[in-house]
């Protein structure tokens, strides 16, 4: 592996629920918009199939309503993550935020 091209970065993982809302829109959409606004390198939203979290509600699809777990993954430099973090914390009423140190390689041929 060409290790010299891998740069130290941070991986931010936000665990929320699909039904969480922020200022009238889905929380994960609002987070993505905020990331773009703050010029964060990239973000990906994943929807889980099933799960449970700190509120001990089981997130499972129902016939009529569903509230599935959502994970937003963001990778950027430590400075940019530091800049983003307080904003995100203000938007999330409940949920989980995890940060891991990573080595990142951006490929663009």
């Amino acid at each position: 592996m060409s290790m010299q091209t891998y740069q130290p970065a941070k991986l931010l993982r936000l665990h929320v629920a699909e039904s969480d809302r922020f200022e009238g829109k889905a929380l994960h959409e609002a987070i993505l918009e905020k990331c773009r606004e703050l010029k964060i390198a990239g973000a990906t939203v994943f929807r889980g199939l099933e799960g449970y979290g700190e509120t001990a509600e089981i997130h499972r699809p129902h016939l009529l309503s569903r509230d599935l777990p959502i994970v937003v993954q963001i990778v950027d430099t430590a400075e940019n993550i530091e800049r983003l973090l307080p904003v995100i914390e203000g938007m999330m009423g409940k949920g989980l935020i995890a940060i891991s140190p990573v080595a990142a390689l951006r490929i663009h041929k």
Binding site: M1, S2, Y6, A9, L11, H28, E29, L32, C35, R36, A41, G42, A43, T44, V45, F46, R47, Q73, V75, S100, P101, V102, A103, A104, L105, R106, I107, H108, K109
Partner: protein, 236 residues
């Protein structure tokens, strides 16, 4: 059982009716190879052919159909081939022996069903690396989806495991949004593949993925693996 890598391939060309101690020579050779613990051997009867005697053996002529060529092939390590070659040299009184260097790409064997009782559940903790690869669902590699191609490549490299996730929304350095839209038939949702392996093997995997990825992001971090060995309870 052979392993991947360098090996030797031996091909022996015989006549079907060449005898060795009252049995066909190819049978004697196969018996000898089994006895010596050679990994495997195949005898094939040719459809037609000719050898040093310059007589064409073909099923079209009934009289010559009895003397069809037989080819015995086996692949093993260089040491094993060295070991059996002198005896084969002696046995083949009429025919040709050829040896070539070869490369084993895959040597797979169906797992034998284990009837022995399994050891109790154990936890194995080890340091490992987690690699996450981010790209688009529409990305392709030589006429197939990139995520399929990467998975195949990782399987061939005997990487322990990989999982493909499809995101529901996102954006990358290109700045364009990956979102499923009601109005857009084509979709390019974000895809992420996660791989957990030892540092050494993960580095190999990363290099392979780096070559395949046109536009994307590779992220590597340290993880602690807690592996449940024999997660199912042992049957008494």
């Amino acid at each position: 059982m052979l392993s991947k890598g360098v090996a030797r391939k031996v091909t022996i060309y015989l006549n079907e009716d060449t005898q060795h101690h009252l049995s066909p020579l190819y049978e004697s050779i196969l018996t000898y190879l089994i006895h010596k613990g050679v990994a495997g051997a195949t005898a094939t009867r040719a459809f037609a052919g000719f050898g040093a005697h310059n007589v064409l053996h073909t099923p079209k002529m009934e009289a010559l159909a009895e003397h069809l060529p037989i080819r015995v092939e086996f692949i093993d390590t260089a040491e094993k081939v060295e070991e059996v070659l002198p005896t084969l040299y002696d046995m083949v009184t009429d025919g040709l022996i050829e040896v070539q260097d070869t490369h084993i790409v895959k040597a797979a064997m169906k797992e034998k069903r284990q009837s022995e009782s399994k050891p109790p559940r154990t936890r194995e903790a080890a340091k490992a690396k987690l690699m996450q690869i981010f790209f688009g669902e529409a990305d392709r590699w030589r006429d197939e989806p990139l995520y399929d191609a990467i998975l195949k490549q990782l399987r061939m490299m005997e990487i322990a495991g990989a999982t493909v996730y499809r995101g529901i929304d996102g954006y990358g350095a290109k700045g364009h949004s990956h979102k499923k839209s009601f109005f857009h038939i084509s979709r390019d949702l974000p895809v992420m593949i996660s791989v957990i392996e030892s540092e050494e093997k993960l580095n190999q995997a990363a290099s392979a993925v780096e070559r395949m990825l046109e536009d994307g992001l590779i992220v590597i971090s340290d993880v602690e693996v807690v592996r449940l060995v024999h997660a199912n309870l042992p049957t008494s």
